[in-house]
Symmetry: C2
Subunit: 418 residues, 2 copies
């Protein structure tokens, strides 16, 4: 068999691979000779091919044993594809509306076959830069987060199931280490991977490295990331991991998936929306001052958390007499105590989410991987102004996250920061 050991595919060999793989060729129709293959990977890590034929389409994603955007000098286990496939399967079972179907997984080849999210689907981040409103975004993302986080937690599962799954995802340790480095460590130290808008932000970068209070809070978040197995996370839920149309929202790329703190996923999404917010002033022009769009972004932040809170609570109520071992119904046996534990759970989760969201913002401004929202602002001094505002807000959010009692207060603080 031609693919009995790992080898990186290209357009040509992928053609042979698909022909030899019924789970894929059956999606493309029998006339495989007419299929067209195009590499479209714009992410940081992997190779992604769109395959279309008159009879069908699919996407192939292959992990190579290094970080694509850095090159072979930064090795990275290709086993990440196994965890991506495992999370895709689990999350699409829990929330099929918002996760593309997995067609095929080949562990030897670190290769995933999945549903092609056809145009007009685009990466959410690109839509946010273009100033496109997605009226259903908060509804959809809150749905995805509530379902995937609730159903993979001890609120729903027994300890036995939970520990089995936690043990399995301990295997995705290299991806966790990458996050530890690029999110929780490098931005707070001198690292040759770090990049920033120099010379404008030179002093800001030094200030981050010298902010003891910030570094103390980051240590707490890092410990939570490393030690708290609360739910099966996506692990990289920024606005570049969502493909959208005004009607559809699809979550891709869960290769960083593991059992971690719920707030890490929620924070990734909200933090990236806040980054998009601060980037808007850099995209405003005579034809569009982006003011209304900024309002829409704030509303989306507000709605995402509010709807998440509502949906998560309603799943909790729905299954409160089920198998979940965290809150036994014989203990949390009156509506007052039930409401109090939910309130406490959700305020703690809000604080975690704000902390992680802020950490994700900071790393996108002073760390190795930046976001197009800010990078695409051509005037560097204008860009620096946006970045500095975002950075200052993120720092105060990370340090002061426990002061916020509701998402409304957070949105107000964003507004007042400008």
């Amino acid at each position: 068999m031609a693919f009995s050991e790992f080898r990186p595919l290209d357009e040509k060999s992928l053609f042979d691979y698909i022909r030899a793989t019924p789970a894929l060729s059956e999606k493309i129709g029998s006339n495989v000779d007419e299929m067209k293959i195009q590499e479209v990977g714009d992410g940081n890590l992997n190779f992604v091919y769109i395959v279309v034929s008159p009879a069908g389409s699919l996407v192939i994603k292959q992990a190579l044993p290094y970080v694509r955007c850095i090159g072979e000098s930064w090795p990275m286990t290709k086993e990440r594809a196994y965890f991506e496939a495992t999370v895709l399967k689990e999350h699409s079972r829990l929330c099929p509306e918002h996760v593309p179907e997995l067609y095929h997984f080949d562990r030897t080849m670190s290769l995933i076959g999945m549903k092609y999210l056809e145009p007009p689907h685009i990466i959410l981040r690109k839509g946010l830069i273009a100033g496109i409103k997605y009226p259903l975004l908060a509804e959809h993302v809150s749905d995805y987060m509530a379902k995937t986080l609730y159903y993979t937690s001890l609120l729903y599962n027994t300890t036995t199931e939970h520990k089995r799954a936690v043990a399995e995802f301990c295997g995705n340790v290299e991806m966790c280490r990458l996050t530890e480095q690029v999110v929780f460590s490098d931005p707070y130290k001198v690292s040759h991977y770090n990049k920033w808008n120099s010379p404008y932000l030179d002093q800001d970068v030094v200030a981050v490295r010298e902010d003891n209070e910030l570094k103390i809070e980051v240590a707490e978040l890092k410990a939570k990331f490393c030690e708290r197995s609360q739910a099966l996370l996506h692990g990289d839920l920024h606005t570049g991991s969502l493909m959208v149309t005004p009607e559809s929202t699809q979550v891709i790329d869960p290769e960083f998936g593991f059992y971690g703190p719920m707030g890490y996923d929620i924070g990734a999404f909200i933090g990236n929306l806040i980054l998009a917010y601060y980037a808007q002033d850099g995209h405003a022009d005579a034809s569009n001052d982006r003011k209304a769009y900024k309002e829409w972004l704030l509303k989306t932040i507000y709605d995402t958390w509010s709807l998440f809170e509502k949906k998560f609570t309603s799943l909790w109520n729905k299954h409160k007499d089920g198998e979940g071992e965290a809150y036994l119904p014989e203990i949390y046996n009156n509506s007052e105590v039930q409401q109090l534990v939910q309130k406490k759970f959700l305020i703690d989760l809000l604080h975690d989410s704000l902390g992680f969201g802020a950490a994700k913002m900071i790393r996108r401004i002073v760390g190795v991987a930046h976001v197009e929202d800010l990078e695409s602002i051509e005037d560097q001094s204008r860009r620096a102004k946006c970045e500095r505002q975002a950075l200052e807000f993120a720092k105060s959010l990370l340090k002061g996250r426990r002061k916020f009692q509701s998402i409304g207060e957070v949105v107000l603080a964003i507004q007042q920061s400008q």
Copy 2:
């Protein structure tokens, strides 16, 4: 081979087993015919045999597939012996002064061979009931806790090592579930396993079940117990898991070992010392009012935490430039930030320890397994008075643990509670 599949041993078959097992027979000397075997298990779960011959001695512990003190109606995996042996090996490597040497482990037979802790070693709990002072106890236990908790945490280890070990100990899930049930659940609900000093404590038991604030706090501790893989815990570090003389302190019985929150071990020990404190009034008599002994107990609580804090911090400082990934030296790079993170870490750990300690106290008064400190008070009304004081203090400690800024304040609160 006679022992190729599991079977419960008795004095007779154990004799054959030892003869067939060089790792054991070599400890006993060649003259195995002169060896004497005695079952001494007084614990809740397992069978323990002391084996002595003129040439040597050892202890054999065998796990049967049920809970000894309940019987076959409460099945319990005998695989716990594997985790006990694994923790014994690891903890005795890290702290050989205070953990008996493992001689032999047989997974098929769920059987451990270890060093016999000879008389005058007795179980610490019995010494505390008898009013015996152990001047080195705090020094020794703080040493054991500092070393085992520090060296198995991310303060010392890489994420890679940590997640591998966490995954392995996810396998001890049945023991974790037992703890979840008997410590964090049953005491707060109606359960036919619960016992209490009836009728004296009937109202107190109801009050625990109806205390919403208490139940909310217990949920937070339970989540930490289930989700936070901070260090390799002993998992059952009460005063019945220590064998002592005035000069020696030995930790036995880590069958509940797993990666959990450090405060669970520290709290188990301190909580059981507080129980011993409240039991003293029940043991006072004309010849000994136990007042001085109560002072010694308070001093031991104070010293245990203070010395732990000192030793743990000094291990942290000693290895701060090592492999540990939690606090990178390039980030925590000045003495001010180093001191601040340590202070925050230790105050959070104190709060965890107080919370878990309080939960352990409560379960020993209203849950399935009680402590001899209180059970041995013959006058039931006198016993009830001690129990109620302990219970009230534990409840207020659990709910108010975050108010305490130092162990001195905790000791003061114990004193003022009487």
